[in-house]
């Protein structure tokens, strides 16, 4: 026992320096004013930003659902492929992630612009131009594009563990393809679904680059708001910390709601 306790010391130190202390600092800033006195004004101020919070939750939720609907069939198809093909497909999915996040989002900007590539193509067939950049749709697109692999990977990893014979057994017992999906494949994928939702929803709700680059000024998200409090003209780390604290609570709430989803709800979502 003593040995294992010693082995845990470095991790304890690490957690203290990089998790506990920063969290404590966030809490301390959130509940103090510029002079260091205790106050709840920072938290009370957040009421002014309710619309930003709602928008962030809403857009992140939409992006998460779209990711789930897109990733589910892709992950299943990959999990049924032969070994070499699986590796190849996974590499294709990971490939964009080796490129810089900013670069990827910039390229969407130039694609979506009013005189961007897509609108020019539409122009050739006499359509448009469409207003695509600086919309909520563009923000959701950016989130889906950037976070889709985080949904595919956990789904894929649980789906490879679904034995082919279990699917055959369901067919053998009279289940049509739709019933095989709803009674066997989806229930067995639930661990991957909930991991995937967490891994997409959490970064999506706190992103600030995607909304700034693709959403213009009009689609401010919590992430932008927090960033402005630390780096922008509005410099106010106390409000920023309070925002971060509330965001954390919101994420925890959303995740615990998602955690109580049972199989039937997930089925309804996907079918």
């Amino acid at each position: 026992m003593i040995k294992s306790r010693f082995a845990a010391v470095p991790y304890g130190v690490w957690m203290a320096i990089f998790i506990i202390i920063p969290l404590a600092l966030v809490c301390w800033y959130a509940f103090t004013d510029a002079s260091g006195a205790f106050t709840i004004d920072n938290l009370a101020d957040i009421g002014r930003y309710t619309n930003v919070f709602t928008r962030s939750i809403w857009l992140a939720a939409i992006a998460t659902v779209i990711c789930l609907v897109l990733a589910f069939p892709i992950a299943f198809l990959i999990s049924r492929m032969s070994g070499a093909k699986q590796t190849f497909m996974l590499m294709l999915i990971m490939l964009p992630m080796w490129m810089n996040f900013l670069l990827r989002t910039y390229s969407w900007m130039s694609l979506l612009e009013n005189n961007g590539l897509i609108n020019r193509l539409f122009g050739l067939i006499g359509l448009g131009p469409f207003e695509m950049i600086n919309t909520q749709g563009a923000v959701v697109l950016g989130m889906v594009y950037n976070y889709l692999p985080f949904m595919i990977m956990p789904l894929y990893s649980v789906m490879t563990k679904i034995d082919r014979s279990v699917i055959e057994a369901a067919q053998d017992l009279g289940a049509s393809p739709a019933r095989v999906l709803s009674k066997v494949i989806i229930p067995l994928s639930v661990p991957g679904i909930s991991t995937g939702i967490t891994m997409v929803f959490v970064p999506a709700i706190s992103t600030f680059i995607i909304s700034r680059m693709l959403g213009g000024g009009g689609n401010l998200l919590i992430g932008d708001l927090i960033e402005m409090q630390f780096l922008g003209n509005a410099y106010n780390p106390h409000l920023g910390s309070a925002l971060a604290l509330v965001l954390m609570v919101v994420v925890l709430l959303c995740m615990s709601i998602a955690g109580t989803l049972d199989n039937d709800d997930v089925e309804d979502m996907l079918l």
Binding site: S165, A169, A170, D172, L173, G174, V184, L188
Partner: protein, 352 residues
């Protein structure tokens, strides 16, 4: 009642990646029979089963079920159920829900589901385990769940793909008796796939011996054991001594340098044949008191009997006997007419 064929395979051919697994394969399976497809791995027996279940569509040929062509019917529309090799239970469901799966898919009233499933669980001896997770059960118990899950749908035909392969010897023997009992009680046609000849002999009404995607012999266990059609069947079912011989006349054969009376007839005069003699059918007697003389090369104790290798005129005989002889001993061997089984030589088939 010989024409009550329930499953008919007609000229089925299947190949994977250019390799032929079944080649112009035809087979009739009669209603209420316990049929075993027996053969070494890669002989096409599991492929045959998957074609009947609908998991695999043949490249050519037809599958008839009760006279109806079901060749292109998907598995969920076929009146057969399968017990899979490694059970393939649903890991997210408990015992009851696993067994109830098929009935619920058919949307039967829940009260009926409950009653039928409970009866079936009781029949396979798992009463009281209804709410257990299948992942926490032993191999034997999982096997029973798998059987109950298939049988509860009262299929016309039950397909079993080496269902006892993963169990230990004692449990396997128990389950063999149990499966036979269930088959007789339910009157369902069982199509059983195995590579274990003893299992096949114990349970089957009819055994289909397969090799290289072709049927080698079809018959009752007694037929297959006592009258193997060729050297492959003789070797695969039990142990045997196989020698070349010449059929001089009806009931008269020469092999191993001696002439014997036998019970076979209908061969051409002096036709070259193969002779099968089972090791337990050779009686060891004093030297020169038998038909053949040999020298014991080795003796191994096998539990029920001793296995001895006896060398005679360049051929090493395998002999089983409850009495042992020392290695090096001179012995005589006696083979009765009933114990000599004559087979056509493979390359002689065309002229037969």
């Amino acid at each position: 009642m010989e024409n009550n064929v329930i499953v008919r395979l007609e000229n089925i051919s299947v190949s994977f990646d250019g390799e032929e697994v079944l080649n112009d394969f035809s087979l009739d399976i009669h209603d209420r029979e316990f049929v075993t497809l027996l053969g070494p791995s890669g002989c096409g027996k599991t492929t045959t089963l998957r074609i009947i279940a609908g998991f695999l569509y043949p490249d050519s040929g037809r599958v008839l079920f009760d006279g109806r062509n079901i060749s292109s019917l998907p598995p969920h529309k076929r009146e057969v159920n399968t017990v899979f090799q490694r059970y393939a239970l649903f890991p997210h469901l408990n015992v009851f829900d696993n067994v109830a799966f098929g009935l619920r898919v058919k949307k039967l009233p829940e009260a009926e589901v409950k009653q039928t499933v409970s009866e079936m669980i009781e029949m396979v001896g798992l009463k009281g385990f209804e709410n257990r997770r299948v992942t926490s059960m032993s191999g034997g118990q999982q096997q029973r769940v798998a059987i109950a899950r298939a049988l509860v749908n009262s299929p016309r035909v039950l397909l079993l793909d080496e269902p006892l392969g993963a169990l230990d010897l004692k449990l396997r023997k128990e389950m063999q008796t149990e499966l036979k009992r269930i088959q007789q009680r339910t009157n369902i046609t069982f199509i059983y796939v195995t590579h274990d000849q003893e299992e096949a002999l114990t349970m089957s009404d009819t055994i289909v011996v397969m090799q290289g995607g072709k049927i080698q012999q079809i018959g009752s266990p007694q037929d297959i054991y006592n009258e193997p059609k060729n050297a492959f069947v003789a070797n695969f079912i039990g142990e045997s001594n196989i020698l070349n011989g010449v059929m001089h006349d009806d009931y008269f054969v020469e092999f191993a340098g001696a002439k014997f009376t036998c019970v076979d007839k209908g061969f051409r005069q002096d036709q070259e044949v193969q002779v099968v003699v089972r090791p337990e059918d050779i009686k060891l007697v004093a030297p020169d008191a038998g038909m053949l003389n040999g020298i014991v090369k080795s003796t191994v104790f096998k539990g029920v009997h001793y296995e001895m290798l006896v060398e005679q005129a360049g051929y090493t005989w395998k002999v089983h006997s409850t009495a042992s002889e020392q290695p090096g001993a001179q012995v005589g061997m006696v083979i009765g007419p009933d114990e000599i089984h004559i087979m056509v030589k493979p390359e002689d088939k065309a002229g037969d």
